[in-house]
Symmetry: C2
Subunit: 329 residues, 2 copies
Amino acid sequence: MKAKLISRALVAVSLCVGSIVHAQDPLPSWNDTSTKKAIIDFVARVTKEGSPDFVKLEERIATFDNDGTLWAEKPIYFQFQFAIDRVKALAPQHPQWKKQKPFTYILAGDMKALLADGKSMMTLMAVSHTGMTTDEFNKIVKEWLHTAKHPKTGRLYTQMVYQPMLELLAYLRANGFTTFIVSGGGVEFMRCFAEQTYGIPPQQVVGSSSKMKYEIRDGKPVLLRLPEVQFIDDKQGKPIGIETFIGRRPIAAFGNSDGDQQMLEWTMAGSGARFVFIVHHDDAEREWAYDRKSDVGRLDKAWDEALAKGWIVVSMKDDWKTIFPQLSE
Amino acid sequence: MKAKLISRALVAVSLCVGSIVHAQDPLPSWNDTSTKKAIIDFVARVTKEGSPDFVKLEERIATFDNDGTLWAEKPIYFQFQFAIDRVKALAPQHPQWKKQKPFTYILAGDMKALLADGKSMMTLMAVSHTGMTTDEFNKIVKEWLHTAKHPKTGRLYTQMVYQPMLELLAYLRANGFTTFIVSGGGVEFMRCFAEQTYGIPPQQVVGSSSKMKYEIRDGKPVLLRLPEVQFIDDKQGKPIGIETFIGRRPIAAFGNSDGDQQMLEWTMAGSGARFVFIVHHDDAEREWAYDRKSDVGRLDKAWDEALAKGWIVVSMKDDWKTIFPQLSE
């Protein structure tokens, strides 16, 4: 116990040294623009004791949208791609799908028809995400994350994360923030990679969820995922998700689309120092360029509000030196 | 930044020294019985690196029921008492309540009739807990917690907590556990005192919740509490609440009634070292004595399962040296 605690203190000391060494540039993948300055200025103000903007450790809550904010979302939300791949994998066991919508869309490769039809997507999500235990679901998702490749880049989906945002997460945590994901994505889907990819443990992931059922199977309890929605953590649902799961208003929040508008409003409406930004996908060369007309990650109303209220809009093209992390191999 | 980080490391070091000083008896309000030995033995096994039972820091999740486990629940659940007091406070503004059930029960002081009627309790909860913003609700609850006194002891309700359990919470945290409340009580009600009383921050409180609505009022966003249930975190709901909010199976869980049975089953069904106990209220002199026949905190089926499976049943009478914390004044 004694040795363990002392070693923990030493870890704390060595972490400090690490932070001091890198203190020169905590955000190396961000260009030296006004956005980067604003981030560093905000963190300095809320962490400096005696500053009028000082915020106690326990109040330093930062929330991040996931799709389009922490990782990419084109050509389709990655969780939808998982659902499609899952249906393809299950198809041989369901010969009736050959004549049944929406499965016919998938088997014919007609993604446009599939995505245009909300009801189809719901059916697809139900088939791929429910009817199994939580343990079974997590295993399927993890297998997919370890093998499926992005159609454009050939990377694993977990390698489609934004390097500048990974640095922002680490920088905020080094300054005493607790970082949360608050996303429309499925909470259990995201937890399969959030800890390893973002350093965000399961209890700091807020997302949409299905109803579940507790059952004893062969003497062992399981949680069965049911094809019924429990909670949708998007748009107005985001402040509600924050209140229900976190129970404290963030002082910083980051998003990229209309789905994040209410989370940013809710964050900015608190008292004291506040910080939000919207990531604008304006880099067709290194990533994608889309906003007001996009089916995926539409940025329209939230952009207008950002312009009206002076919220920072991050230009991926101008503000980010690199987009995706360099791969070691 | 530099000074701050170094001072944080020093805090870590001084916390260590504190822990070492108290290492002699981390649970002074527990008698030296087999229960206390079992707690200390479990913590030693899961925290000792190299031990076959070693558990990584991030997996050291402990969940605690609240009513009857962390604080008392007699003569009625304290949140019900809050609802009743709230209705009394609101009554002058609602003259029609004089002739309307269930308000007539309260105004006549007929608690027996009120508690016997589930529908009445639901109406009462709706009137007292919804129809206001989250900020308004929190303010009302905090005022009540600062003023209302327990009818038997004359203590504030937050002084009706169990000293041995406060020590257990602190002991587990000192050993790297993250401590959660998982209770049938209202999540926002509990968050009004959990941080100050138990050292448990809002994001580590899991409970029952109402639906909410996000609205802009006078240009400012508010969350309105609606009279509709979102989630009931009791019995089968507890493992579901754990999965939805925490996303990780606890390795230790503590309860006192049939409402905790499934949480304990779920905890014990994981692999590796596990620890659960049930608090048995068997001390009529210092607290209350009740179990199989009680309306509040009934312990019947969970007791049978504890006996069958060898789960520890804590005797408040024999295992606890003190029940409530000593008051400083």
